[in-house]
Every structure is written in structure tokens, then in C-alpha cells.
């Protein structure tokens, strides 16, 4: 517990410093944040173009796909903002600057995650939120029960935690393969692209894989299907729709374990 507190405090200190530095160049910050927003909006433009040719995709309307898009993109945006810099760890190991982090009184995880904290990535979060809010206004026929209303923010936060766990596992993997930073993109950005679309368009094997192996289905698919009043393609029991926070917690625990194993390995081999 004490270590977690030290980590959060250290993270906060480093992030605050980078934010101060960023804010010294407000215009540049605004431009790059906007650039990030537009950059991530490009794939939504592709979806919009698709729906200019058709009313439904895999049985889902544009507003329904936008709900999927908005939730998963906001989740990824949050995880990317908070932990996205973890993927620099491979470079730090290769150039030897990892050692300088190990002699400071703050957990290494917090130092790497906070290093060069890029506030401009808030652009991705904003873009996701904009699409999410639009989809909520555009959806019709959704029964907004209290549970459904609560499920939306819960799924965004649980999704962010799941993506955060993936970022952490990807970073831990770099303890063994220092220049394989790109692998995690398959699960983060790839997972994001995947869960922007309805599960009905993918093969059952793929859906099973992202439900039971890399549980990206819990980022938004399962809870969002509940909100939309649809059945999931695998016919899972109903309580699964609410399992995202639990799955997120399990993912984080596993990621923590992977990170510790990686760091212990580094400290016993020095490479």
C-alpha cells in the first residue's frame, strides 16, 4: 500500500511538472491537442463514409456503432493519456537510462508512465467523448433505465483500466524484447479499431478470443449490447454484461504481476 501511495504521489509530481512545461507554450499545446483530436477522428470519418453507403453494418445503425466507437475510444484515450508513455521502456533499457530511474525513491512504473507526460493526448479523449455524447443523443429506442445510465460511465472507466493493463503488459514484455514496442499496438489500437465495430461482423473465433483470451469484449461490447438491448453473439449469461469492472480488476492484477516479473528479471540480469 505504501508503495502504491508513493507511486501515485511520484506520478503526480512528474505529471504536474510536464503539464507546467506544456502550458508554457499554450498555443503549441492547443494546436497539437487539436491535431490529436483530428488524427483520431479520421477513423470515425471512415465509419461515417461507410454509413453514407448503407444504413446498417452487421445489423447495427450508425448511432449504435457510434456508441461503440465513443466508449472504446474514450477508454483508450484515457489509458493512452495516463499510461501511454510506458512503451518507451524498451528504449530506456537499450540506452541504459533505465538505471537512473532505479536510484530514485519513486517506483519505476510511476516514473516511466509519467515521463514526458503528453497532455495533448487529451485530444483523443475529447474526440471519443464527443462521439459518445452525440451517439447518446442520436440513439432512439434505448430504454434508459438507471442501470443502463450507470453502465455507460462504468464501462468507459473499466475499459480504460483494461487498456491500461494491456499497456502495462506490453511494457513488461519489452523487458524481454526491447524493440518489440509495436506488438502492444495490436491489442491497444487494434483492439480499439475492433471494438469500434459491432461484434456481429467478426468471426465467432475472433469474438471468443477477445472475450476469453484478451478480454477486450469487456471494454464496451458486452455492456454496450446490454444498453442497446441486444443479445451477444456468443449467448453468454446475462450477468456477464456487468462483469467489466471485475474483469478490469483481474487484468490490472495480472498486469501488475507481469510488470513485477519483468522488473525482477531486469534487476537480476541488468539487461
Amino acid at each position: 500500500m505504501a508503495e502504491a501511495a508513493a507511486g501515485i504521489r511520484g506520478y503526480g509530481l512528474i505529471v504536474a511538472m510536464w503539464v507546467r512545461t506544456t502550458m508554457a507554450y499554450r498555443l503549441s499545446f492547443a494546436m497539437t491537442a487539436l491535431g490529436n483530436l483530428l488524427m483520431t477522428a479520421a477513423d470515425f470519418a471512415a465509419i461515417a463514409i461507410m454509413f453514407s453507403h448503407t444504413d446498417v453494418l452487421g445489423g447495427f445503425t450508425f448511432a449504435e456503432v457510434a456508441l461503440l466507437y465513443g466508449t472504446t475510444s474514450t477508454s483508450l484515450g484515457l489509458a493512452d493519456l495516463l499510461l501511454g508513455n510506458l512503451d518507451r521502456i524498451g528504449r530506456r533499457i537499450r540506452d541504459g537510462t533505465m538505471d537512473t530511474l532505479l536510484v530514485r525513491p519513486v517506483p519505476v512504473f510511476a516514473q516511466i508512465a509519467a515521463d514526458r507526460f503528453a497532455l495533448r493526448r487529451i485530444g483523443r479523449v475529447l474526440q471519443g467523448l464527443i462521439v459518445l455524447v452525440w451517439s447518446l443523443t442520436a440513439l432512439d429506442g434505448v430504454a434508459w433505465t438507471p442501470v443502463a445510465v450507470l453502465l455507460v460511465p462504468v464501462m468507459v472507466l473499466a475499459g480504460a483500466a483494461i487498456y491500461g493493463a494491456v499497456f502495462t503488459c506490453g511494457a513488461a514484455f519489452q523487458f524481454w524484447a526491447t524493440d518489440a514496442a509495436e506488438v502492444q499496438n495490436s491489442f491497444t489500437y487494434g483492439g480499439n479499431t475492433l471494438t469500434q465495430y459491432p461484434p456481429t461482423i467478426f468471426s465467432k473465433e475472433l469474438v471468443r478470443g477477445v472475450t476469453f483470451v484478451v478480454p477486450l469484449a469487456f471494454v464496451n461490447w458486452l455492456p454496450a449490447l446490454h444498453v442497446l438491448g441486444r443479445d451477444d453473439p456468443l449467448g453468454l449469461p446475462g450477468w456477464v454484461d456487468f462483469a467489466s469492472p471485475l474483469v478490469a480488476a483481474a487484468c490490472c492484477a495480472l498486469a501488475g504481476l507481469a510488470w513485477r516479473t519483468g522488473l525482477r528479471g531486469y534487476r537480476s540480469t541488468g539487461s
Binding site: E3, A6, G10, L13, I14, M17, T21, D95, G96, T97, D99, T100, L102, V103, R104, P105, V106, P107, R116, R264, R267, S268, T269, G270
Partner: protein, 312 residues
């Protein structure tokens, strides 16, 4: 301050053998060394590249976990309580900075202050002292990446000392520095040790660092401690030689002076080797008396030479 007993570090190295097969080798980077450094001592830790210096330092700071042996720094087991130890030691890596590359020095220091929870008055006093003695005044607002190597090193040393560490590790603190920066760094370290009794362990390639700072030297080679004692003893053990270089008025046959041997002649210049423990004064007097001397200089033995002789 530092207690080391039978410290050992074994790496398992996988080598490619053939296309797919890989074989495992055990490499003993540090093979059972023991020593103790009392409070306030300045110790030089030297040895050829790959001898195990860095590995030792990494174990003493908690970066690396030892394979076996007992290790205590300020009473703490570094591998088990790395972050707690971090508050009580300072580390300077000559080859890489611990500062934030894109930020001005002062921003790095401010962050250190919060990270290490340095009380305000201590921080101000330490920063003032370091700034003055290391000549950092005009550099505080400059981003680290724009500093020269010597400036950056001074900045790094200051950063390592803001939290009043009891032990300071310096890994090659003068590598690549110009003469002026070297002198400044050495002077500062001497004062630091005298004023506050900070224990210092430094690795270096530069023998003059050791001569000017350390009373005690430890020599490591192939993971073993080969020598632990005073600097004079090192010269005796190593039978190292200093070199008297004399410029004569004209070309002469090799001159013959008692207590040294002429090892090289190049035109009017001659090189005379004599034991490092001996004084150069009587030699100079004799040469000046018997031959037409124009100029002279004395060259110190290179640390690598000294060590090379030890194992020759």
C-alpha cells in the same frame, strides 16, 4: 557505511550456437568480494573495462540483485529496500544523466526536492552551496540537453547532493571533461567530504582523480578484489614507473642517470623511467648538472598501466 561480504553476481548469457540452437554460459561478473567502507572515507574503485566495477556499483545502489553474499549500505539491504535506500544515497553516472533532458536544470532540481521530500531550508541551502561551488548560477535556466558535458556533469553532481545523501557513488565522474571542469569537480568533492563527512565511492579511469581525492584504492579485475589499500601501496605493488621527459640542447646518445633507465630517444628528447615511489627532484638535479637541459616534464603512470603491471 558500506559493508560487503562475499558479494557475487553471476549472469547467465545465452549465445547463439548455430542457426537456432542457443547455449547458456555463466559469467561471473563479480566473484565473491568483501570490503567495508567506514563513514567519511573517499574510496577509489578502479579496474579495467569489464572488470566488474559497474556491476558492483549497481548492486550497491539496488539496481541489480546480487546472486549471493551479504550487502548493507547505511544499514539497508539495497536489493530489498531500493526506494528507501534511494533517499539516503546519491548516484552520479558519468555516461548518462539523471536529469530530465528537455527541462531546465532548476526544474529538475525542483522535482527532486518534491520527490525526495527535502525540507525547504535544506533544499535552499544545498542548492545555494552547489550553485556557488560548482558554478551553476547561469546554467539553472538552461535545458539540460543544451549543456556541455562538463556543465551537465556538475549539474548531475548537484542533483545527487540536494537531499544530503550519506553515501555518494560516482561512476566515472570526470570522463570526457575538460581540465577546468575536472578541477572544479574534484575541488567540490574534496570540500564536500571535508565539510559534511559524506562517504564517497568513485570509479574512474583517471589516476589523477584518485591521487587528488582518495586515500584508499580498491582494484578489481575479473570480478575479484586484487588490491585494497593506500595509493602508495598500489604503486609499490604495481611496480609502476613515472616518466621524466627531458629536452636537451642537441641530440645526444642515451644519457645514464642512476636510479632510472632511458627507455626512448627521439632527437634531442629523451624518456627516463623511474619508480613511481621515488622523488623526481634528485634526478632532475643530476640531469641539469651533467647535461645541457632545456626543458622537462614528469608524466604520471596511467591507471591502466599500473593495473596492467599488477597482473603482468
Amino acid at each position: 557505511m558500506i559493508e560487503v561480504e562475499d558479494l557475487e553476481k553471476v549472469f547467465v548469457v545465452r549465445r547463439r550456437a548455430g542457426r537456432l540452437r542457443r547455449t547458456k554460459h555463466e559469467v561471473r561478473a563479480v566473484g565473491g568480494i568483501s570490503f567495508a567502507v567506514p563513514r567519511g572515507e573517499v574510496v577509489g574503485y578502479i579496474g579495467p573495462n569489464g572488470a566488474g566495477k559497474s556491476t558492483t556499483i549497481k548492486m550497491l545502489t539496488g539496481i541489480l540483485t546480487p546472486s549471493s553474499g551479504r550487502l548493507r549500505v547505511v544499514g539497508i539491504d539495497p536489493a530489498r529496500e531500493r526506494t528507501r535506500l534511494a533517499r539516503r544515497i546519491g548516484v552520479v553516472f558519468g555516461q548518462r544523466t539523471t536529469l530530465w533532458w528537455d527541462l531546465p536544470l532548476l526544474d529538475s532540481y525542483r522535482l527532486m526536492r518534491r520527490m525526495y521530500r527535502i525540507p525547504d531550508d535544506r533544499y535552499r541551502a544545498n542548492l545555494e552551496r552547489c550553485t556557488e561551488q560548482l558554478g551553476l548560477g547561469e546554467l539553472l535556466e538552461v535545458p539540460v540537453r543544451q549543456l556541455s558535458l562538463g556543465q551537465r556533469m556538475r549539474g548531475d553532481i548537484a542533483a545527487a547532493l540536494l537531499h544530503d545523501p550519506e553515501v555518494l557513488y560516482l561512476d566515472e565522474p570526470t570522463i570526457g571533461l575538460d581540465v577546468l571542469s575536472k578541477a572544479k569537480v574534484r575541488e567540490f568533492l574534496r570540500e564536500l567530504n571535508a565539510d559534511r563527512g559524506t562517504t564517497v565511492l568513485l570509479t574512474t579511469h583517471d589516476l589523477s582523480d584518485i591521487e587528488q581525492l582518495c586515500r584508499r584504492v580498491m582494484v578489481i579485475d575479473h570480478g575479484r578484489l586484487m588490491y585494497d589499500g593506500g595509493l602508495d601501496g598500489l604503486h609499490a605493488v604495481g611496480e609502476s614507473e613515472r616518466m621524466l621527459v627531458v629536452d636537451l640542447e642537441r641530440e645526444l646518445p642515451p644519457i645514464d642517470v642512476a636510479g632510472c633507465r632511458t627507455v626512448r630517444v627521439e632527437g634531442p628528447r629523451q624518456w627516463l623511467a623511474f619508480p613511481a615511489g621515488a622523488s623526481a627532484a634528485p634526478l632532475v638535479a643530476e640531469v641539469a648538472e651533467r647535461w645541457p637541459l632545456v626543458d622537462l616534464s614528469v608524466r604520471e603512470p596511467d591507471i591502466e598501466d599500473v593495473i596492467a603491471r599488477m597482473y603482468a
